[in-house]
């Protein structure tokens, strides 16, 4: 029973890692650059929601606050791509990496100034309640995390498979030059990808802040999510989610069964093992070009 309980908590945590990892992979696939500020975007998204919803700030109804925060973060991420990232077009990928790391610092600093460094919790309608299934405790917050992740993943799946814009996004990430030749507006598409990554980051942030507490340093969770993306095979969306779940589940298990301290290194240990055994990740999407 203990193990089942751990499993539930792990899955809920893993969903959040998975959503942040999803943001990493989306941007990597579209622009071949890694956005190391993804975790900090999650943190900012959470704080914006908190500002909308919490009583001591604006106290908007929860649903409206969430939707507003998602829209604002989508817009901010879109602008970030247009104003900052696009200027590095044609520069080495390294430049984008450094830029996004720096961006993470800036975001963390701003969040500290505006919202303070103390952990704060998002006030949600589902806080503190739990289902009791034969002794197994499933918090409303955990249930919401799992359901929201499932809904978001399924809608992203349909967006990428069924809509014209979604397929064009896939096309642009698979062969940018050919996408240009087809008349697909590649630059606009990469801005839109950033917007989508901003949305997944915000949803992850909301779920994170609803389950626990958020402070400006919470964005460092992005590093674990990065490990999750590598485990899944950087470039595979289902892989990112699976990687997140693996890390989420292993962490509490290691805490329970292994000596203290081991649980912190588990995500990276798994990442190393995967890199040695399957260098392309668990769900590699690699294809050699035929001549």
């Amino acid at each position: 029973m203990d193990i089942l309980q751990l499993l539930i908590g792990g899955i809920a945590n893993g969903c959040i890692y998975g959503l942040v990892a999803l943001g990493f992979v989306l941007i990597y696939k579209a622009t071949e650059a890694v956005n190391f500020a993804q975790g900090d975007m999650m943190m900012i998204g959470a704080f914006i929601t908190l500002t909308m919803v919490n009583e001591e700030w604006w106290g908007l109804p929860f649903g409206i606050g969430v939707i507003l925060a998602i829209v604002i973060m989508a817009g901010l991420s879109y602008l970030l791509e247009v104003v900052v990232i696009r200027k590095l077009f044609g520069q080495p990928q390294f430049a984008v990496v450094i830029l996004t790391i720096a961006l993470g610092f800036v975001l963390r600093f701003f969040a500290g100034v505006i919202w303070g460094h103390d952990p704060q919790s998002l006030e949600t309608p589902f806080a503190g309640k739990a289902f009791d299934i034969g002794g197994l405790i499933l918090g409303y917050d955990e249930a919401v995390v799992i359901i929201a992740t499932a809904v978001l993943t399924i809608s992203l799946y349909f967006f990428f498979q069924r809509t014209r814009l979604g397929v064009a996004m896939q096309a642009a990430s698979q062969n940018q030059l050919a996408a240009y030749y087809m008349g697909i507006p590649v630059k606009w598409i990469s801005s839109m990808i950033w917007a989508v990554a901003g949305v997944t980051a915000t949803v992850a942030g909301i779920l994170f802040a609803a389950k626990g507490a958020i402070d400006p340093a919470s964005g460092l969770l992005g590093i674990k999510a990065f490990a999750a993306a590598v485990i899944g095979g950087f470039g595979s969306l289902p892989g990112a989610l699976a990687g997140g779940l693996i890390i989420g589940i292993v962490e509490p298990m290691a805490q329970y069964f292994a000596p203290p301290g081991y649980s912190q290194i588990m995500p990276y240990a798994i990442m190393l093992i995967v890199l040695v055994v399957r260098p392309n990740g668990l769900f590699a999407q690699i294809q050699q070009k035929k001549v």
Binding site: R164, V167, A168, Q170, A171, Q174, N175, L177, A178, A179, Y180, Y181, M182, G183, I184, P185, V186, Q285, Q287, K289, K290, V291
Partner: protein
């Protein structure tokens, strides 16, 4: 040249790769409903010329005129919308999309959504293998099939002029014959205007109406495809036929007439 008005014309195009001048003042006309081929060896500037037309590269000087509109220096998506479809060298299909999705991407810029399904059927008629592989990932198909898909994808844009960059690249002689037969049929039956870049001069000149020879960024020869096929220079330097000399040996020092 006694031909219909040009759909596409280039006037004194000069294109650079950084400091290197790849196209040195080229003028070409593509008349409506015809196939115009541009021949040349590696590095002659054929692909650069194509990229200049489709807007992936911008010329420093000169004009690209499509039906009276200047399109040089515009973004590629604008030029596709204006009616130029580029079938790139080396296929460049979207490897993880299905055949059907690839074709749909070819039609990305089109406004008349209701006609797209008909055009997909048209493409399937010319390339029956694509219909069979409709839901297969494009990257898993053979080179010849990918080339067919690339041409079909170009057709889906309903272009005023289609740029074909080396459709014979890396294909067996038999497949080259097959693809060029379809190119000729498309031109005759659907009256698709084409600008065809090729290294395989023999095949290209047999399919085309008019031809240009490009060497290190300049046009060195132009004429009706039949004339070019018969020309001694073309035969020797592009078709690899050696005429008998007086001593019964190949004369290595023979000069090209344009040098």
């Amino acid at each position: 040249m006694n031909a219909p008005a040009p759909v596409l014309s280039m006037k004194n195009i000069e294109t650079f790769y950084g400091p290197i001048m790849a196209i040195r003042g080229v003028s070409i006309e593509v008349p409506k409903g015809q196939i115009v081929t541009i021949l040349g060896a590696n590095g002659a500037g054929k692909t650069t010329l194509m990229k200049t037309v489709s807007g992936v590269m911008d010329p420093e000087k000169g004009q690209v005129v499509l039906e009276g509109q200047e399109i040089q220096g515009k973004d590629p998506d604008h030029i596709v919308r204006a009616g130029v479809a580029h079938v790139p060298e080396g296929r460049e299909v979207f490897p993880f999309l299905t055949v059907h999705e690839n074709l749909m991407m070819g039609a990305y810029t089109r406004k008349d959504r209701e006609n797209i399904a008909d055009d997909i059927d048209m493409v399937f008629e010319y390339f029956p293998i694509l219909k069979e592989r409709r839901d297969q990932q494009a990257g898993t198909m053979s080179g010849g099939q990918q080339q067919m898909l690339a041409i079909g994808r170009g057709l889906m844009a309903k272009p005023k002029v289609m740029l074909l960059d080396e459709p014979s690249l890396g294909l067996s002689p038999l497949l080259v014959q097959e693809i060029f037969a379809i190119i000729k049929r498309l031109n005759a039956e659907q009256s698709v205007t084409m600008m065809l870049v090729e290294q395989n001069a023999n095949v290209a000149l047999k399919a085309a109406h008019y031809g240009y020879v490009l060497e290190i960024g300049r046009i060195v020869m132009a004429g009706e495809a039949k004339q070019l096929l018969a020309s001694q220079d073309i035969q020797e330097f592009y078709l690899g036929q050696t005429g008998e000399s007086q001593r019964g040996q190949k004369r290595w020092k023979r000069k090209k007439t344009w040098r």
